[in-house]
Structure formats: structure tokens, C-alpha cells
Symmetry: C2
Subunit: 342 residues, 2 copies
């Protein structure tokens, strides 16, 4: 016995129904609601086969069947192969962004917000890791007589700044001169290269030694800080709308994972070579998320930096819709961030 076309159709109907209702699906439901010309008894036989094949689970004898992880996997793979994503809401999404895309953090926050409200799940937007970023400009701005602000602009338009102490003999012009020099030397290099260059040239500008190490240190810090990509998570409370989380314990473990973003980052940072990655239940690798699915896509930022967007929801997720939204959002972010800052 193996999977044939009819079994697949029936399985699909079961998944569709379960995604919609969250109630274990019985043979009669399929026979009536979906136009298979088959009686419930026949469906029953097929369902029994599907269970044996590992595509369906039965919570208990007198309940209907529930799709297994394996079933969702098949379903999603089929969806991805067909590639028919509803991208109709693209323009709707864009409206959200028109006037507001100022700060990087605002953008990712908004994007996550939009993902969440369009899907009713939890929206995720992650900035690229900064490891590959190249410096475009480095500027020292006087803040007080003993402190200056270091502003670092990278090729993807991301700006980081921090305060450092400086000798009191520096005025604005002196700082500017240093800025120019540093910029000339460092433009086009990655953060880690920049540190090396600064370390190497210390002999050159011995007199400013203290300050140079200060800045170098800062670049290191920034690099380290940026290596942990920023992550916006919006709509966590949406999850409480779904019956599978009416159990408070489940809800709590889910929310805890999302709050301590480390685990999430761990997953999101895994390289993905596909346009979309769908992790179903246990595939997430996080025990607390074993009843959740995580769908992610990438957007491009500048030359070769990839950010990640995604949606977390119950395993019985509306995968088609989510993929459509993610696809549209990915395009928009790529355009928006690419065009605007380039």
C-alpha cells in the first residue's frame, strides 16, 4: 500500500479542514463537505491507510484524525512546488510603509507589525548580521569637552553610534580632521578589517594612541553587538486566540521562548538557500515550539546582506496565505531598504 492520488486528495481535505477548525476531522465531514464522490465508509478505509502510513494521528479512538508533522510537510512541499502564492495584497502591504521608513529599527518593527496583523500569527523580522558589512564613513562628533560621539555608517545604511572619551585638547575641527583620515583609510573595509588596519597603523599616529585604541575597541564592540542581529517580534499575544493554546502552561512556554529571543535567533540565523524555509513542529528544534510552525523568508539589504522575516503560529497554520504574505513583504523590504539607503 502506498500513497496514491486519491489518498493525497483526501489528506489535503483533512489538513484544510483541520487548519480551519482545529477539530479532529471525521470521515463523515470529509465525505460531506468536500466533493469527493465517496461515502464516509470509503473515506474511513483511506484514513485508516493514511494513519498506517504515518500521515494521520488519532487523539483517541472515538475522535477524528489529526494531520501529523509528516502530513504538513507533504502539504507544504506540494505548496512550494506549485509556487502559487497569493500575492494580491502586495499593494496593501506597501501602504503601511510609505511615510515612515526612517530608522532601521522602525522599519523592522513596522514590518513585524504588518506581518502579525495580516496573518494573525506572530511576526518576526530580523536584521542581517553585520559581519559582512563594510564601512562607508566614520565620523567623530563633539558632545562635550571630554566626550565625542563616534558614528559609523555602513554600506547597508546601518548606523551605529557610541560615546567615547577624548582628550580635552580636541576641538571640532581636530575631530573632523581625524574623521576624514579615518574614513579615507577605512572606507570599503569590513568591521573586522577595519580593526586590523587601525591596529597596524597605530605606529603611524602614535600621538593619538589612546583615542585610536578607544575607537578600535568600539568598532570591536559594535561588531560584536551587531553579530547578534536585531530581532523584532510582534503579535505574541495573537497566539492566545488559538484553541491549542488555551492551556496556560503551553501558552507560557511559547511566550517565554519568544521573549528570550536567543533561541529564536539561533534558528533564524541558520543559513537557508531556499526562498522559503518552513519548519514544522519538532523541525524547529526547540522543544517548547513542538506545536508551532515557523515559516521564514529572506530579504536582501545592500550588496550581499540577507535579512530574515518570518511568522510563527500553530502547526495548523494557513501556510498558503503566510507564504504569500512573506513573499510580498520580502520583496517590499528588499526594494525599500535597497533603494532608500543605497
Amino acid at each position: 500500500m502506498s500513497m496514491d492520488a486519491r489518498k493525497f486528495r483526501i489528506l489535503q481535505a483533512i489538513i484544510d479542514d483541520y487548519i480551519l477548525t482545529a477539530i479532529p476531522v471525521g470521515s463523515r465531514t470529509i465525505s460531506k463537505k468536500y466533493e469527493t464522490g465517496l461515502s464516509s465508509a470509503t473515506i474511513r478505509n483511506e484514513m485508516s491507510d493514511l494513519e498506517e502510513l504515518g500521515y494521520l494521528d488519532q487523539p483517541h479512538v472515538s475522535a477524528g484524525r489529526v494531520p501529523s508533522t509528516k502530513a504538513y510537510r507533504l502539504y507544504v512541499d506540494q505548496l512550494l512546488r506549485e509556487g502559487k502564492l497569493q500575492t494580491g495584497d502586495m499593494s496593501g502591504i506597501r501602504d503601511h510603509f510609505l511615510s515612515r521608513a526612517r530608522q532601521m529599527e522602525d522599519v523592522i518593527g513596522h514590518a513585524a507589525q504588518v506581518l502579525s496583523s495580516l496573518t494573525h500569527y506572530t511576526g518576526l523580522v530580523m536584521t542581517p548580521k553585520a559581519g559582512e558589512m563594510k564601512i562607508r564613513n566614520l565620523q567623530l562628533v563633539p558632545v562635550s569637552s571630554t566626550a565625542a560621539l563616534v558614528v559609523i555608517v555602513t554600506d547597508s545604511g546601518i548606523v551605529r553610534d557610541a560615546v567615547i572619551r577624548i582628550g580635552s585638547d580636541m576641538d571640532a575641527d581636530a575631530l573632523y580632521a581625524i574623521s576624514r583620515m579615518l574614513t579615507e583609510n577605512l572606507t570599503g573595509h569590513t568591521l573586522s578589517e577595519a580593526r586590523q588596519i587601525m591596529a597596524a597603523s597605530t605606529g603611524n599616529i602614535q600621538r593619538r594612541n589612546q583615542m585610536v585604541t578607544s575607537i578600535s575597541e568600539l568598532i570591536g564592540e559594535v561588531e560584536q553587538q551587531q553579530t547578534k542581529a536585531k530581532l523584532a517580534v510582534v503579535g505574541t499575544s495573537n497566539i492566545l486566540n488559538f484553541p491549542e493554546y488555551s492551556d496556560v502552561e503551553k501558552a507560557k512556554s511559547f511566550l517565554s521562548v519568544l521573549e528570550g529571543k536567543e533561541k529564536l535567533l539561533g534558528i533564524l540565523e541558520q543559513k537557508q538557500d531556499m526562498a522559503f524555509t518552513v519548519r514544522i513542529g519538532p523541525e524547529t528544534g526547540i522543544p517548547e515550539l513542538k506545536d508551532c510552525s515557523l515559516v521564514t523568508a529572506t530579504y536582501r539589504l545592500g550588496d550581499n546582506n540577507e535579512g530574515t522575516i518570518g511568522v510563527i503560529g500553530p502547526t495548523r497554520m494557513q501556510y498558503g496565505h503566510v507564504l504569500g504574505v512573506l513573499s510580498a513583504m520580502g520583496d517590499i523590504l528588499t526594494q525599500l531598504l535597497g533603494d532608500d539607503k543605497e
Copy 2:
């Protein structure tokens, strides 16, 4: 009949017990667990009086009593009057901050984190509104041939930046010259004053008209953006540990309020002239938080900017502990941000 010392002692015992257990308190419990030399019957009479006075509620006839909002209010006022806050954990708090206080946003994030983990409630940290902030420096940094980055440094060390388009005839030196000029003109003025100045002086520098309006616009945007103070909220899922939120509906409405931070900001931005503000249940003014208490304190940032820190938890909150933690954290933030950036 009115409140006498004994009634007050009994009330305090009831509140203490209820805060600890979340179970309606019976007369027998008080008589046994707390060293009043009184029998349950006497306590019962007193409790009856306290109920009549509005300090106790009775969920139903055969249950114990529960403190009313009025009771908590009395309790907290007493606590504040005594002013005996446990500040023993001050040094413990400071350890969390030693090496990390780089970016403002990191600091408030960490602070909220610490508040949450020390109290097991939800921690809030809000930056001051920027309305009163004065410009200290304004710098244009070239990003590409047609775009520059405007960096605004204010007197409290807060930095905002945004990209603007510029004419292609600007090189780094030209931008620097403009920066100097702008800084000279605008230093010491508030953001809104700065806009007026720029508007007024447009005639002066007519040739750069387009750019000036661009910057002016930006300052307006920044001002508007900053008017909504940033708010970090950490530990929302802690709330699920408390039995009063084992009802999913309650939990959801709570989490929703915290996620859409607007309402929260609305409360937090209310001026408070006391060191601490305690809003109990309905006093928060937010229906969804009628079973929560919000305790806030202020920290000082720079000359006359006040930020707010706070904790949200169930009305039966460990007020003493929370006040102690907030007090310590307020001091630390004031020192940390005051010293570091000043």
C-alpha cells in the same frame, strides 16, 4: 465604628497573606498564622467591620475575605509614609550594568530586564520625552553622492539620525562647513526652537534652501518621533505564573495592552511629582488592567529630563519589595546615564 489600630493590624495581616497565597483569607488563618492573641471569632467580628468599612470584599459567603482596592491603597500609603525600603540589593543590580551601557536602547532594555527578573513581574523602562531636549551638535555625514546622514546630539546624550537626500555638488568638506554653521546656530536650543530658527533664517541661506527645509523637516520628524518616548517592556510572560491569570481571556487582554504600548505610554507620561506613584487596579484608568497594579518611579537624565521606570503586576503585588527595587534602579540609572553622558 472606625478604623483603629487593631483593625489596621488585622487588615495588614490579611493583605500580607493574600499577597503571598492569592487565596481568600479566612478568620482562622489570621488567628493561627499571625501572632494576634485573638480567636478566630474576634477576628471574624473585626473582618465584618472591615468589610463594612470597604476594606475587604467577599467573593462569596462561604469564602474568606479579599483586600479591596481601598485596602491596598491604605497599605501602600502606609508603606510610603514609613519609607523603609529594602535597598539591600542595590549592588546586585549594578553588576548587571557594568560593561554594557553603550546605547541608550540597550540600557533601557537591560534595566527592564533586571526589573522583571528581580520582581518576577513585568518591568517597564521609559525614556524621557524629548520635548525639552536641547541640541548640542548637528552633523552631516556623507553616505553616498546623493545622500547624507543627519546626526543630532542632544544635551542628554541621546542621538538620532536619519538619511536625507542632498545635491550632488556636496563633498565632505562642504557638508562639514554646513554642519559647523548649523551647530553654531542651533546649539542650546530645543528641537522646536531649532525649527523656528531654521525657518526664520531661510532667507539667509537661500541657495541651500532645499537642503535646509529637508533638515528642518527632519528635525520635526525626529521631534515628533521622540515625543513618543521609547518604552521597553520585559517579562510579560511572567504574569502567567500568577493564578489570577490562569484564565486565558484575562491573560490575553493583559498581554494585548502591553503589546500595543500606546495605552501604557498614556499613563506613564502623566506627570508625577512624588518619588513613587502607585496605581492600584482601577486607578490605572485602563479597564483591561483593573486587576493589575502599576508602580512607577522616575530617574533623572541630564539636566531636567525625567525618565520613568515601573513594574506591572497583579494588585496583590509585593509592594514593599517592588518599591525597594525601583528605588535602587532609579538611583542607578540616574547615576549611570547622568555621569556617563554628561
